[in-house]
């Protein structure tokens, strides 16, 4: 079976700064994969390439067996990739419900139908009580929830989550984890997440990919990754004898 998402030797530079270098990995259908690494490792750049914000300089990204290099973000969304933004981008002037309706309109052209679907998404994210507030009035954790609700409303096959747990309290974080596990198990959604909150990564991911200076330095199951010397080195520094 072909993996749902496949990256082969993907590279991207910004004015000589090599953000991502020769990255290859696969995300199998119905799995949860975490992408971790220190700040500036190239995780968000990688996400932006998968989501079509920019095309890779070289290499190939394929979704569902077909190359998506050079497609626009809206085309990639239509193929079934939903994403959240690390720096949240709500439609500030629109109500919380309208924000999610915009996402739901991707699959249901009719506004009434989209509204009903959006309402169920808001329920999932515990935002139903705030549906009529302008998105600008939400707190940061709620804005993160709105990002997720809006991306889910597009009914993706692959969900890209960019640090949605950052800034959440541990209890809020656990609820998010439970939600992602549910949509993964019950709705068979594949999830690729960038996350610094290791508690969430360990609880969710079946596979972890570690990125450092734009390159994959390790990948494997979570408990293998945390013992990998290369990973410990990039996070904690090299062990030295004094």
């Amino acid at each position: 079976m072909t993996p749902l998402l496949q990256l082969r030797n993907v590279s991207k530079s910004f004015r000589g700064l090599r953000a991502v270098m020769g990255v290859s990995f696969e995300v199998e259908e119905k799995t949860i994969v975490a992408l971790i690494g220190p700040n500036g490792a190239g995780k968000t750049t990688l996400f932006n390439m998968v989501a079509g914000v920019f095309a890779p300089d070289s290499g190939e990204i394929s979704f569902n067996g077909k190359s998506v290099n050079g497609l626009r973000p809206d085309q990639i969304c239509a193929l079934g990739v939903g994403r959240t933004f690390q720096i949240v981008k709500p439609f500030a002037g629109l109500s919380v419900l309208d924000n999610v309706i915009v996402g739901a309109l991707e699959r249901s052209r009719n506004v009434g139908e989209a509204r009903r679907y959006a309402e169920t998404m808001l329920e999932k994210l515990d935002l139903s009580a705030k549906r009529d507030l302008p998105a600008a009035a939400l707190t940061l954790p709620d804005r993160k929830g709105l990002e997720v609700a809006r991306a889910l409303a597009t009914r993706p096959r692959l969900l890209l989550l960019d640090e949605v747990m950052a800034g959440l309290r541990p209890t809020e974080c656990d609820r998010m984890v439970a939600l992602f596990r549910e949509i993964n198990e019950r709705d068979c959604m594949t999830i690729l997440l960038i996350e610094h909150v290791m508690r969430a990564v360990m609880a969710l991911a079946q596979k972890v990919i570690v990125l450092h200076h734009g390159e994959v330095i390790a990948d494997g199951t979570p408990d293998r990754i945390v013992r990998e010397p290369a990973v410990l080195e990039c996070y904690l520094g090299e062990e030295t004898d004094l």
Partner: protein, 323 residues
């Protein structure tokens, strides 16, 4: 819409419907002017208020529409209702060209506004030298004072012009209300609020911005046809002038950009203030050239400083006609 809003709207409809029965020609011309700016303001509001693209060159669509229909009438005796289609097509072509250049090549914000001004300006200069439509000397339609309305040729009494404008303004209002409640409205507002997030949610921003541009240009062209037949004369220096574009956007800016009723309310406030003051000054026997522009400026200044979201939203809350 709540019950209170329905009552207000019903009362307003009655007044508007029966106004020609009670009002003299001066009042009617004033009301026609208000409706005209309410209409063009709504057309502009679709592009800026809904889709977030600031056009400062809407005089282009007004002028292109007016000139197209007037030229067909003057040269070939083709009536305004037939000429309207060419007028709309011409303005839509202009709008699509500007939209294509801007949206395909990432021209946005202030640069988009400058592009729209540039197109309006070079069209003005072009028409100034186009002798087929009279050049800078202007294009005139035969003035025919008629006591009865000849709706087919748009010749007739002030009451007829008033009703034509009333139908147009009401139609534009209904169209805007419908657009806001359907997919285009949601997508335009998403683009206005955050284009990158809109794209990530599957919105082909180019296509939807083009749609806003084309609808806005088409509606404005209809207003151009109206002015040509209402005033019976067109001068490039007037109709394509940037001052025209500014006049079009003042109503929505003062009433509330992006709101449904704001452009209509803004047009009424502005026109009544400017005309009222002019009347008053004339009645007092003073000379005050440029008074209208001064009032526009003052009102704009006050609104921008005190109520940057426009007059309508706070007033609607006071009157309890909106949440």
């Amino acid at each position: 819409m709540n019950a209170r809003a329905t009552c207000w709207l019903a009362a307003l409809s009655v007044v508007l419907l029966f106004l020609p029965a009670v009002a003299n020609n001066y009042i009617l011309s004033l009301a026609t002017l208000i409706l005209f700016f309410a209409y063009t303001g709504q057309a502009w509001n679709i592009l800026m208020g809904f889709a977030g693209q600031l056009s400062l060159g809407h005089s282009l669509y007004l002028g292109a529409g007016g000139y197209a229909a007037a030229a067909l009438y003057a040269h070939f005796d083709i009536g305004p209702w037939a000429g309207l289609w060419l007028a709309v097509a011409l303005s839509v072509a202009f709008g699509a060209l500007i939209g294509f250049l801007a949206f395909r090549y990432g021209v946005s914000g202030v640069y988009f506004a400058l592009l729209t001004i540039a197109f309006a300006e070079f069209t003005r200069i072009g028409v100034d030298h186009l002798s087929w439509v009279g050049g800078s000397g202007g294009l005139f339609l035969k003035v025919a004072q008629r006591d009865e309305a000849d709706i087919l040729n748009l010749r007739g009494t002030p009451a007829m012009f008033y009703y034509v404008m009333l139908v147009l303004a009401t139609g534009a209002f209904a169209l805007c209300a419908w657009l806001l409640r359907t997919r285009p409205g949601y997508y335009w507002q998403a683009i206005r609020e955050n284009e990158e997030a809109a794209r990530a949610l599957g919105i082909d921003t180019f296509r939807w911005k083009m749609l806003a541009m084309v609808i806005s240009a088409a509606l404005t062209a209809v207003a151009g046809v109206f002015i040509a037949f209402y005033y019976n004369n067109l001068f490039p220096e007037q109709i394509f002038h940037i001052g025209r574009s500014i006049e079009i956007i003042l109503g929505p800016v003062i009433g509330g950009v992006g709101t449904l009723f704001g452009p209509i309310f803004g047009a009424a406030v502005l026109t009544l203030l400017a005309e009222g003051a002019t009347e008053l000054v004339t009645a007092l026997g003073w000379q005050f050239p440029g008074l209208k522009q001064l009032i526009y400026g003052l009102v704009l200044l006050l609104v921008v400083v005190l109520l940057p979201n426009g007059l309508w939203s706070p007033l609607a809350r006071k009157l309890k006609v909106a949440p």
